[in-house]
C-alpha cells in the first residue's frame, strides 16, 4: 500500500504547507499533484496524502469525491469535456455532443476501448462569449463547429 511520488512532487508538497496557516488547506492542491503524477486519484494516493497531511483517509476521500475534477478512476489520454450549459446549447452544443459521441462510439462518461478518449459533458466553462466550448485536458477550444472538432480530434496523436 505505498505509492511513489516523484522528487519534484515531494518538494511541491513542502512548499504548499508554507502557504497556509493550516495543513489541511493543502488537500485540494495535493490531490491535483496526485492526479498529475498518476493520471487519477487512486486509493493508495489518498492513503499517502492522509499520512502526509495528518488526517484520516476518509477525510481526503470526502473531499476528492465532492469535486468533479478529481478522477477516481483512470481516464483516457484525452479528456474531452463539452459544455452543455445555456449559451453553448443555444449555439448548437447538444448537436456537437451527439456528434462526438457517435464519432468516438462512447456516451458521455465513457472511455473509448483503446483508452484514448474519455467524453464528458461539462457545465458552463466560463467562456460563453466564444460558445460552443470544449475543454480537452487543460486546453480550451472555442467557437466550435463540427468541422473544427473533427479536425482537432483527428489530429491528436
Amino acid at each position: 500500500m505505498s505509492v511513489a511520488f516523484s522528487e519534484s512532487a515531494r518538494r511541491e508538497f513542502d512548499a504548499l504547507f508554507s502557504r497556509y496557516p493550516d495543513r489541511e488547506a493543502v488537500i485540494l492542491p495535493a490531490l491535483y499533484i496526485a492526479q498529475r503524477e498518476f493520471g487519477y486519484v487512486s486509493g493508495e494516493a489518498v492513503e499517502y496524502l492522509a499520512g502526509l497531511i495528518g488526517v484520516s483517509a476518509a477525510r481526503i476521500e470526502g473531499v476528492a469525491t465532492f469535486y468533479t475534477m478529481y478522477n477516481r478512476k483512470p481516464v483516457g489520454k484525452y479528456h474531452v469535456q463539452i459544455c452543455r450549459n445555456i449559451s453553448c446549447s443555444l449555439l448548437g452544443a447538444e448537436h456537437l455532443i451527439e456528434h462526438v459521441s457517435r464519432k468516438l462510439g462512447v456516451k458521455p462518461g465513457q472511455t473509448t476501448p483503446d483508452g484514448k478518449f474519455t467524453l464528458s459533458t461539462a457545465e458552463c466553462l466560463g467562456s460563453c462569449g466564444t460558445a460552443p466550448v470544449m475543454q480537452v485536458n487543460d486546453d480550451y477550444h472555442e467557437n466550435l463547429t463540427q468541422e473544427k472538432i473533427d479536425a482537432l480530434l483527428d489530429r491528436l496523436p
Binding site: L28, Y32, C124
Partner: protein, 422 residues
C-alpha cells in the same frame, strides 16, 4: 468613452509587468502606500463600487465590517470562481490584464492591513492560473509584492488556489471551506466572513473585477469613478453578451447603459437576422426578460425595479425559434447537479424542478405540472443555508410566468413544438 479596465487589453504584452508599468501601472499602489489607510477606504466608498460577483454589495462598506482589533491577522480572498452560466468577464481580466488584479490586491490589502491574499480560481482555468502565477512572480521581482513593498514596510503574499469543479464554491462561505481543504459546503451566516472567515480569521471576499477597479479609483479618485455610472452604482461594468448575437463578447460600458443598446449596438443585434425572444440579463440565476422589457438601464437599482438583476453581468440572448422549456430544462439540470445537498428544500427542489421540466419538454408533461413547478419553487424560497436554492427558483418562476403558453402547449400536445432541439 473612458474605460477603467480594458483600455490596453488588445496588447499582448500588457499582461507582463513592464508593459503594464509603461501605461502607468503600479503608480496607484505607490500613491496608496503614501495615503492614510482610512482615506483609501473612503475613496472606495465614494466610488460607489458595488461588488461585481453578483450580489452588488458596496465594497467600501464591506471592508468596514472587519473588526477594529488588529491582533488577529486578516485574509483577503479574491473570488475568481466565475461559475455563473453566462459569465465570462473575470477570465478576460485575468488573461489580458492580470496586473490590474495584482495591483488591486496590493492596494486593497494595504488599506485593510492584510498580509496574505488567496486568489481562488476555478479549476478549469488552468491557463489563467498560470498567467496569474507569472504576474505574481513578476510583481514580486519588481518589489510590488512580498516583503517591504516599495520600501513602505508593508508585506504581502499572494497565492493562487485552484478550485476543482464545483459551481457552489463561488458562494463565498463555500469557497472559504474549499480553501480550507474541505468539501465546498456553504456555511450558515452569521458569523459573516468579515468576523470569522478563512482559517477562523476575519476575511474579506471580493470578486476579481471588484478588486481590479481599485487601482483606477485610487489613481483618479472615487468621485470620478462614481460619476461614470449612475447614482448608487459607480464606474463601468464588464458585460458579457452570449447566445444568439452577432458579436458575442465582453464589453466595458458605464453602469446604467441601456440593455437594448448592449444587445443591439454593442453586441451587433440578434444572429441570423432573427427577432429577440428573451433575455437572461445577469447570469443564469436572474429572472428572464421579455423583448418589451429591455429598455432599461443596466444597473443594480434599475434592474431590481423591473424585478430582475444585473447580477454578474452576463447577458444571455435567446432568439425566436428557441424553446423556452428546453432552455429552462438546461438550467434546471445545472442547478440540480450543483446543489450541494445540505438543505432538503434545495436538494429535493432542484431535483424536482429538473425532473418536471424535463418531462414537459419530452412530451410527457402532466396536467398540473406548471402549478407543480410554482409550488416546488414556493417551498424552496428562504429556507436554505445559501442562495443557490433561490438562484434556481428565479429562472424557473420567471420562465413560467412570462412564457406560460409554451409550457401549456408542450403539455397539451404531448410534444415539444420545436422538435426537442435548439
Amino acid at each position: 468613452m473612458e474605460r477603467v479596465l480594458t483600455t490596453h487589453f488588445a496588447d499582448d504584452r500588457y499582461r507582463h509587468v513592464d508593459a503594464y508599468v509603461e501605461t502607468g501601472g503600479y503608480s496607484a499602489l505607490r500613491k496608496a502606500l503614501g495615503m492614510p489607510k482610512e482615506e483609501i477606504v473612503a475613496e472606495v466608498r465614494k466610488a460607489n463600487l458595488r461588488g461585481r460577483g453578483g450580489a452588488g454589495f458596496p465594497a467600501g462598506v464591506k471592508w468596514g465590517f472587519l473588526p477594529k482589533d488588529l491582533s488577529r491577522p486578516r485574509v483577503l480572498v479574491v473570488n475568481a470562481d466565475e461559475g455563473e452560466p453566462g459569465t465570462f468577464k473575470d477570465r478576460l481580466i485575468m488573461s489580458r490584464g492580470p496586473h490590474l488584479l495584482v495591483e488591486g490586491i496590493a492596494i486593497s490589502s494595504f488599506a485593510m492591513t492584510i498580509h496574505v491574499c488567496y486568489i481562488y480560481i476555478r479549476g478549469e482555468f488552468v491557463r489563467e492560473a498560470k498567467i496569474l502565477e507569472e504576474a505574481i512572480g513578476e510583481a514580486h521581482a519588481k518589489g510590488f509584492l512580498g516583503k517591504n513593498i516599495l520600501g513602505s514596510g508593508f508585506d504581502l503574499d499572494v497565492y493562487v488556489h485552484r478550485g476543482a469543479g464545483a459551481y457552489i464554491c463561488g458562494e463565498e462561505t463555500s469557497l472559504i471551506n474549499s480553501l480550507e481543504g474541505k468539501r465546498g459546503w456553504p456555511r450558515n451566516k452569521p458569523p459573516f466572513p468579515a468576523a470569522i472567515g478563512a482559517f477562523g480569521l476575519p476575511t474579506i471576499v471580493n470578486n476579481v473585477e471588484t478588486i481590479s477597479d481599485v487601482p483606477w479609483i485610487v489613481a483618479n479618485g472615487g468621485e470620478r469613478f462614481a460619476a461614470m455610472g449612475v447614482e448608487k452604482n459607480g464606474g463601468t461594468r464588464l458585460i458579457g453578451v452570449s447566445g444568439a448575437v452577432n458579436r458575442p463578447g465582453v464589453y466595458e460600458l458605464p453602469a446604467g447603459v441601456n440593455l437594448r443598446d448592449i444587445i443591439y449596438e454593442h453586441a451587433g443585434g440578434i444572429k441570423d437576422g432573427k427577432e429577440l425572444k428573451a433575455v437572461i440579463p445577469g447570469g443564469s440565476s436572474t429572472p428572464v426578460l421579455r423583448p418589451g422589457e429591455i429598455d432599461v438601464a443596466y444597473d443594480i437599482e434599475s434592474m431590481a425595479r423591473i424585478g430582475s438583476a444585473s447580477g454578474s453581468g452576463g447577458v444571455i440572448v435567446i432568439p425566436e425559434g428557441a424553446c423556452m422549456v428546453r432552455a429552462l430544462m438546461v438550467l434546471m439540470n445545472f442547478y440540480s447537479h450543483e446543489s450541494c445537498g445540505q438543505c432538503t428544500p434545495c436538494r429535493e427542489g432542484t431535483g424536482w424542478l429538473a425532473k418536471i421540466v424535463r418531462r414537459i419538454e419530452e412530451g410527457k408533461g402532466l396536467e398540473g405540472d406548471v402549478e407543480l413547478i410554482l409550488d416546488v419553487c414556493d417551498n424552496m424560497m428562504g429556507r436554505t443555508i445559501c442562495p443557490l436554492s433561490e438562484a434556481a427558483v428565479m429562472p424557473a418562476q420567471s420562465f413560467v410566468w412570462k412564457f406560460r403558453e409554451e409550457f401549456d402547449r408542450h403539455i397539451k400536445d404531448q410534444k415539444c413544438p420545436y422538435g426537442n432541439k435548439f
